[in-house]
Every structure is written in structure tokens, then in C-alpha cells.
Amino acid sequence: MRILKGNPVSRGIALGKVYIYKAFKADVHESYFEAGKEDEYFEKYEDAVRTAEKELENIIDSMSVESPEKAKIFTAHVEILMDEEVAEGVKEMIYDNRTMPDYAVDEVYTDFANLLEKAKDPLIAARAADLRDVRNRVLRILKGEKESNLSSLRDSVIVVAHDLLPSDTATMDREHVMGIITEVGGATSHTAIIARSYKIPALLGVSDATEIMKNGDNVIMDALTGKVLLDPEKETIKEYQEKLVEYIKEERETSQYLDKIPLVASGERFSIGLNVGSTDPDESFKYVDFVGLFRTEFVYMNSEHMPTEQEQFDSYKKVLANAMGNPVTLRTLDIGGDKTLRYLALPKEDNPFLGNRALRLCLDHPEMFKTQLRAALRASALGPLQIMFPMVGTMDDIRAGKAAVEEAKQELRKQGIAFDEKINVGIMIEIPSIAMIADMAAKEVDFASVGTNDLTQYLHAVDRMNPAITEYFQSMSPSMFRILGRIFAEFNKAGKPVSVCGELAGDHLGALVMFGLGLRKFSMNSANIARVKRTLSLFTLEEAENIAKTAQNLATEADVIAYVKAEVDKRS
């Protein structure tokens, strides 16, 4: 039995078969065949098209009931696959030039994709991505490789991949994914966040996972301690089946705290918020007081084109309805860094996390930004919505963001379109430079929310996507608790609401320390609500304050974690 180590970013245990997910990479070279074989090679192409059609129809069938919107993408792929001009183009190259089918397919599709990309209408230009997608499907079939995608898994599997992209997880068949193992990524990567919100156990940073494991291998994935056990013996399997039962039982006990009013032992009330990133209804909305982070990226990432104002408005409206009258904090588009859009060409950057991302990118694309702000403002007429800018570093950023909101408001006023005139506008605090002037920032904004993932990344100078340095990513460090204490104190003093919507708010140990530092609003993924409510209920305000003070003065993150954990264990 071999053991691989990884970073357990989403808790749980899974026993099952491995499914290796490799995105197909087309590798085509200019090549020709000898005369007389034209029919044979054209038939190969036609066979590939038939297989591709069958694949697409299977996907459409499996999706049409549950997610008809996603099925439409694949219906469009069938149209492209069956396009008369594509077929003509390929036929000509095969018969007139004796071009190998893969090269012919690559050439014809690439030409057409380039043609569409030149269209003035961004909706049409975006269709080029579909052509490339269909091209890859046909090329893969010509190469004799099987379809591998996460949207149509037949059995329950543990997905093993180099990395999962936002587009992979968007189409992922959640029902059949028991666990996720990737070679790269840390606790705050996209994969980790998605895994936690879907409650799928995940181990990231498992080196060479896709090389060492094979499709169908039996493995045990222990995402409590961070291990993958390959080819386990019978006794080990039995031991883990028992552990799994115990784990589920423990989770169930914690979950009894889910619908309790969030109070500490001395009676002070705190509030729990939910982080959301889709329009899906979720029963967790019942157990929270607000939506502290509404990530709007999904509207952009699930779209084939730049979403229109109306499309965005429709999504925001749904989230407001899901929130059942509780306030919703809408974070404006946060792309760049590890998130990109296929229809928005952005230059490659050497340091994307220090680059043109989030608010910076929006200020750089004023029309795109205005569309979102108009949609958000219109939605504010329907319910309590507030707007929050990510990646704010200076007072200039705050002023530029607010000016953009003002401009959008002016336009709507002129057009006689309703919105909330008194809408709150706030900021994310994730860059140390704004944390250092929290007192001044508090005067110019209506509220703030701390993004602890990026704050850790920028405070500790640690690229959170780099698996080689995950141990340097220390969100429970004394430095973090010192800067957080300062932020909370300044906002509390100014009488402006402050919350934390980063991962640390959902970590029961981190939440406890932050309560002691003066934080009262914790926004998190649904999976963490019960645990945070339970842990905080075990402490009085005075105890929490003492723990916070001690944590700020311990030397290392390891010391802090060991100390806080011991305090919690004593009372559990």
C-alpha cells in the first residue's frame, strides 16, 4: 500500500474508484497521405463526426431535464459539427490536397473560428470558443481517444486531475463526484472553494497524482488528515469504513447547531452570513442573517458572451429572492488572477495576483463595469442589496469606484429607472495598504468586508496558487490577527459595519479569535455554519477576548493553532 500526501482543503472521507480527468490537448501537424486513399480518409472523418454527434446527444439527453441552459451549449455544438461549409471545407482538403483528416479539421475549424472572432458583435465573436471546442472533440475522436469530461460521469468516482478550471467545475456532475484530488492548488484556490461549498472532500497539491494513479484504481481518500491510500488492504478498508460512519455521526451532531440562534456563552449575539456564487436555491438561507458575499463571477463564467444588463439583473433578482428579505452584499466582478473569461482577451501577466484584476480591471473596462453597476442598482429597487468593490488598495480606488456608481445612478435617473437611492457602497479589505488606513477608509464607505484569503496572500507575500509554498500561507498567524484587530477596531469606532467573508470566518478556530477581536459578522459557506455556531457558543465574550489577545502575542501560526484548538477541545 502506497500513501500520497496532500492538503485537505475540504473535509471528509471517500472510498472508491479513481477517475483521471485530463483535458484533451490537440497536437496536429501538417501531413498528407498517398494518392488513392481519398475515400478511406474521408470516411474516417465522417465516422468521427458521427461519433461526435452521438457523444453530444448523450450529453444533451443527460442534461436536458436538470439544466436545460447548459444543454443549449451542446445543442449549438451539434449545429457546428453538422455545418455544411465545414463539411465542404474538410472534404475539399482531403480530396483535392490529400490532407490528413486531423490537419484538415484543424485548418477548417481554425479558419472559421478566426472568421467569427472578427465579428463586431461580441456575442458572435464568443462563438469562436464553441468552434474550438467542437474541433477538439473531433480531433480527439480521430486520435481514438475516449471522451473525458466531468459533466456526464456514469458512476460515483474520485476525480483526479492536474487542476480543475472554473469551466470544469461549472459542468461537473456533482452527484457522482465523491472526492477531488488535484496536483496543484491551495486552500483558497477555486477548486477548494467549490469543493467546500458542494461538501465534496478534496485533497489538493498531491504531486504527480495523475501519473501515479490510473483509471479504476481503488483508493481511500482521507481528507481529514491529508492522505490518499493506494490499493488499500482489506483491514484498512474496514477501518476506514468505520471512520466514515463515525465522521458522518460527528457531522450530524454538529449540524444540530445549524438552526440555533448564534449566541456566545455570555449571551452576546453574533450574526452568520452566507457566501453564495450561484442563483441556486439553498436551504442554508434559512439559517443565516445575511448574504455577506454574493460572488457575481458565475454570471460571466457560465456565459458564452459578455452578459447583458438584463441577464445580470435577472440573476441578481433570483439571489435576492433566495435571501428571503435578508441583506445581500453583491461583490462586483472579481476576475484576473486565477479567473479568466473566454470572451474577454486579457494579456498574460507575470504576476496576475499583483496585476490588473478585480476593481482595477473594471475601472479599465468602464462599459463592462457600468453594465454591472446598472444591473445591480436596478436590482436594489427590489430588495436590500449593497455593492462592494474587491481589490481596493487606496482612497483613490474607493473614490473611483464610487464615482462609477454615481455615473450609473445618473443614467438611471435620467431614464426614469427605479433603484435604491440610499444603496450602501462598501469595500473588500484584502490589501494591507487599505487595512493600514482603515480609519480613513471607514469615513468614505458604508461598510467593509475582509477577504482573509487575499489578505493573507498579500500580507505574507505568498502566491496562494503555488503548491510549493502552501506552508507559508498562514491565515492564522499572529500578524494576521494583529492586522484584523486593527481593522475591526477602526470600523467599530467609526460605527460602520464590518464583516469577514473570507475562509477564516468559516474556520471555527479563526472565527473564535476574531470574535474576541471585536468581529460580530461572519459570512461563510453553508458547510461551516453549524460548526462556527457551536464553537462560539462554548465561550464567553471575556474568554474570547483573552484568547484573541494571547493569539496576537504568540510567536508562530503553529503556536496559535495549537493554543486555540486546545482551548476548544477543553470545552467540547
Partner: protein, 92 residues
């Protein structure tokens, strides 16, 4: 050869679903069918049976177009496609 001129009246033009419907209908006829935009001198007749060619024309609402067909069922082809455009593809 049979032709007819009109103008796109539906809000989304010959994009997305309307384009798909237009191409699907054109494919039902044996004749060669084309669409040409009349507001651009450089525009050539585009194969109406190719979704990619139709999309590449970027025909928005208000674009004047000519539908042409050549073959055994040319009149029916043009008339049916003309009717589809006139129906605004069920939009409104």
C-alpha cells in the same frame, strides 16, 4: 433563381436561436439558398445552410437582406424563409 428582399425586424437579428431556426429551415430545401446583406457592398451571399457563415455576417436588427434560392424548390424556399423573418421569429 428566385429572390426576395426584406429587413430583419426581430430584436436579436440573425443571431443565436433565430439564426439556428433560419438555418434549420433552409436545410429542408434541395435548392442552394443564400442570404446577402444589402447594407455592405463588400458582403457576398452567404450559404444559408451554414450556421457559421450566417453568424459571421453579424446581421443585427434593421439589416436589409436579400434571400435567394436556386434549384427545384427555389420559390418555396425563399417564401418560407421570408415568412420566418416577417414573423420576427416569434419574438416580442
Amino acid at each position: 433563381m428566385y429572390t426576395k428582399k426584406t429587413e430583419l425586424k426581430n430584436a436579436s437579428g440573425l443571431h443565436a436561436r433565430p439564426a439556428s431556426e433560419f438555418v434549420a429551415l433552409a436545410k429542408k430545401f434541395e435548392s442552394k439558398v443564400t442570404v446577402q446583406r444589402l447594407d455592405d457592398e463588400a458582403a457576398l451571399p452567404a450559404n444559408a445552410k451554414s450556421i457559421i457563415k450566417i453568424l459571421a455576417q453579424g446581421m443585427a436588427v434593421g439589416t436589409p437582406i436579400e434571400i435567394a434560392a436556386d434549384g427545384p424548390d427555389e420559390v418555396e424556399a425563399v417564401e418560407k424563409l421570408y415568412d420566418l423573418v416577417e414573423s420576427k421569429f416569434g419574438e416580442d
